[in-house]
Structures are given as C-alpha cells and as structure tokens.
C-alpha cells in the first residue's frame, strides 16, 4: 500500500495520517495526523506548500479514473471533506466544509466553515462561499495562505510525531 505513496523529502507527512492508494505529496506540504487521503478511483497528486489538517478527507472519486491534481498553497482545514475533480492553487477549504465530486475548484477560492459546494461545474477564481445558505461572491483579493503556520508545523511535527519516509529523491 505504502509503495504507492510518494512523499517529497521536504514534505512533512505524519505517520498517523491515513493514506490509501496512489498518492504523491509535493515539497513543503504538511499532512496532520488523522488526515485522510484516499485515492479510491484514481491517483491523487498534491503540489507544494499545502496544509492538510486532522480529520480532513481528500478523496479521488473521478469515475473515469483521472488523477485528482491539487495545486500549491492550498489549506484544507479540520474536518473538511473534499471530493473535487481537480483543485487549483491558493484555495482555503474551511472547517467541516463539503466539496462534492464533479466540482472543479480553480484558484484562490475560499469555502467557508460548514459550507457545501455540491453542484457540478467550475468554481471561478476567487469565488467565496460563505454563510448558512452557501451564498457566493467574488472576492477582490486572494485568501491569505497559511505560510507562517506551515513553517511552525514543519519544525514542530518532526520532534513530536513519527513521519512517513520520503520516497522521492529531491531532484
């Protein structure tokens, strides 16, 4: 199972994270313990500087077996359920939000806490889903990437958690 997992040497992936199927994790990304990444229908490719928090679920449910490609600087907060078809860069998935299959998340979108995006189709860049009724609007600026948080976690996790070993040589 782990043979299919490819971790960049600079990525920090905790051993207690639950990763199944063919998953690639890029440089400087951090995967918390108890985060779930499931490559059910096809592989998952995660880019650089992504932060995936505990109990968040990322699953590839693409019926055609296409890979779920996740860009850079994405922030998947606690308990978020992301089953999108593809994900761009600089997106923020809020706590316990739900992104359904067949949703194409472009760049700099932010899904609010407990919001859901289930309708198939594109989420235009900088779309913000917020509030109880999943209102949508287009923001003028990108959501702030969790840069400082990533830096801290990259230092802290190796001292307190067992990590999954890197399998990709840093080229």
């Amino acid at each position: 199972m782990d043979a299919e997992l490819q971790v960049h040497p600079r990525a920090v992936v905790c051993n207690e994270s639950i990763i199944t199927g063919s998953v690639t994790i890029g440089a400087d990304s951090v995967v918390h313990p108890k985060a779930i990444i499931r490559a059910t229908k096809g592989p998952i490719v995660i880019g650089e500087r992504n932060l995936i928090e505990e109990t968040a679920l990322i699953e590839n449910t693409n019926e055609d077996g296409a890979p779920l490609v996740i860009g850079d600087d994405n922030y998947v907060e606690i308990g978020a359920v992301v089953r999108a078809r593809s994900i761009g860069s600089r997106n923020v998935f809020g706590i316990q939000c739900v992104v359904g299959a067949e949703v194409i998340v472009t760049d700099a979108c932010s899904i609010g806490v407990r919001c859901s995006v289930l309708k198939r189709g594109d989420l235009a860049p900088r779309t913000c889903v917020y509030g109880e009724h999943n209102q949508r609007r287009t923001a003028a600026i990108d959501p702030e990437p969790p840069t400082s948080l990533l830096e801290v976690l990259r230092k802290v996790f190796p001292s307190y958690h067992h990590l999954k070993k890197a399998t990709v040589s840093s080229a």
């Binding site: 609010g112 917020y130 509030g131 949508r136 609007r137 287009t138 923001a139 003028a140 600026i141 702030e144």
Partner: protein, 406 residues
Amino acid sequence: MAELLQLDRILYECSCSEWAPLCRLFYCRHCSILRCHSCTANEIDCTFCGTCLENVAVGEARTRKNRCVNCYQCPICCSTLSAHNSGEAIFLSCSTCKWSTFESDIQQQATAGNWKILENPHEEELSCVLDQMKQYELNEKAQRDILKRRSNVVGSRLTDRFGLQQMYQKRKQALERPTWLAPEKEPITVLDELYDSHFTSIVDLSKSLSLESRIMQPLSRGSECRPIRMPLKGRRVLRCTQCTHNLSKLEYSPSSIVFKIQYFARTYVPEIRLWQETKLAEGGICPVFISVVNESVAKADVVLLANNDDSSLECETPVVEFSLPPHDENSDNLSHSISSLTPEDDTIILRKRNRVGLKLCVKVDEVREMNILSLILKWKNELTSMTSDKGQEWRETRVKVLLGKS
C-alpha cells in the same frame, strides 16, 4: 435524556402571573416576590462596543450616532472586519465573506482606524432646516410664555437702568416670526420616463447588494460599499418595579462579567427538576420522578402540594414535606456520596446533600398530547426577606411540570 434538562419543562409562576423557567426569574428580597423580565424596569447601564469592549458614555455615544469609532462591520455579512497590513498601508477584510476595502473606493490607508464612512450629500441642508425648526420652536415657546404671563406692556416704558430693556428686546425679538432661511425646494413636475429596459435587461445579481446590506447602509446608492462603524451595545440593569431596588447589575467595566448585584430566583427558591422521563399509561397510576434542589446558602423548608384543580392529571400524593440543607460551594460536586439511599418513605426516595429525589404518583384519566402536573411550592428560607423576622414566613408559588404525552 437531554429532554429532561430542557428549560421549558418546568415553569414557575411569576408575581405578574407569567410563567417562566426558574433560571429566567429574579427574586426581589425587599418585596419577597418573584419577578420576570416583563415585570421589571429595564434601564441602560452603560453603552459599549461589543468588539473592543470600550465603554462609551451616553452623551458621547449620542454624538457618535451610537457607533464605535475603532471597530468596523462588513457591509455584506455584518461580521467584524479585521485590519491587515500590506507593506506600508493597512486594509480591512472580512474573514467570513472575504469582502475587503479593495472593493470600496478607499482601498488602503495609513492607519487602522478612522475609515471614512458614507455621508449624506444633503447633510448641510438638513442641518440648516433643523436649525430653522429650532428657531420656530423658540418662537412658539415665547408666544406660549406670553400668554401665561400677560406682562408684555410694561417693558417699553422702562429705562435701561437695570438692563431690563435688553431683556425686553430679546423677548420681543423671540416673539417675531423668524424668516425661513433654508433653501426652498421646487416640487418636481416632470418625472424620468420609465423605460422598458428596466424590466427586460439582465441583472447581474452577483454585483448588486443584498437587501440586508442595502438596509445597513441607506446612504449607499447602488453598489458602493464602505466599512460600517460597529453599532454599540447597551447593557441593562433590572429593577423591581415596586421597590425600585436593583435585581441584576454588572460591574462597571464592560469586559467584566462579575455581578455587583444579583437576585436570581434560583439562589432563593428551591428548584424542581425532572429526574427521569415519565411513562404515562392511560388508566393507571404512574410514578413521576422529580428532584428538588436548594441552591441558597441557607437551609430551606419545603412543602410540595398537589394542585389538582389546575392539573390535567390527578396527583395521588397530596403533600410532601421536607427540609433541604444549604448549598455548600466548597463541597465536591463530582463525588457520588449519597447521604441516604434507602427510601425514607414512599415519596422521598433519595437524599444527596442539598438535593432530594421524590416519587409522586399521578393518575392518568385519558390520552392527551400534553399532560401538565400542577404543584404548589411552599418554602421557608431565612434569606427570602431582608428583615430576619420576615424570613421565617412561608412563601408560595405555583409550578407547572410538563410531562409530555400519555
């Protein structure tokens, strides 16, 4: 099980014959009666900003139009805006809907506070009209005064030895009808034509403001938005309407949550709670398990009487008498020591410090959606009155226990 802790399952009768859960009631020790929110006098004790907790004096709040000058609200979703630093300048952004000042006409500025808010373009004209109306008010007041005094003729004959002439002139001036100085508005005769395109053109809803945000900023015409100053909050003081003593008053600082005066009913009146869910079967005698707790720091004697006239159920236990020890703050609430597990009689089946468990028997006559058990609670507690001799009197209130369907 959580159903048992619902507030509206047990209702107490207030002195104004309203029914409310005990935790929402107050107890006036000066009048020795229960008080609820609707029979107390409410007054604003202090105005403060709920975000920065700054205390604003009432007069100042009025000049600031009841708004905080430091905190801002999102014009889209009402959440608090937070200041962010982008190099040199500062911008505000909302963490919920991601609205930012980049979407307004003032994108960034050097300081975090003092953002320009939308202003009324007719401000000057309106204040001019207001001044005029004040002059008219003075004029009318002077006319009314003259009718009262009827001493208008002497003034002209007086010399100005005592400065009376000046006073007289002033009053005479006040009597003259002021001339209207504010610009007059011509009534509009020709209205803009209503074009069909108003109804046929496609509207981009994502660009227009929602009704809520239009209401929040009435001065914004169209789609312009600016940060909105945070409305101030008022903190209330409750007073007994009869004796005007305070029933609930917080400490001066808005950030403090310590009460200076608190007369909550729960600390003076024994509290009745459901202990187990009651299963009511038609035609039989069913047990109802309730517990009575004494939260006051004095011993309480309690008498529970069945009030079968008001009840939809017949209570077969007519009277229960017991006394409860005071509530001890130092005792460990988590310890499971039960003072007496063996039932004292058929009714009192458990005692645990300041709590007693009762088993009342009720007779169910017919099937109902809601069965109400009505009780009369009598209690004697030396704290129920300010004067010590009156503290030995029995107090009484009616209690409704909502048992559910049979």
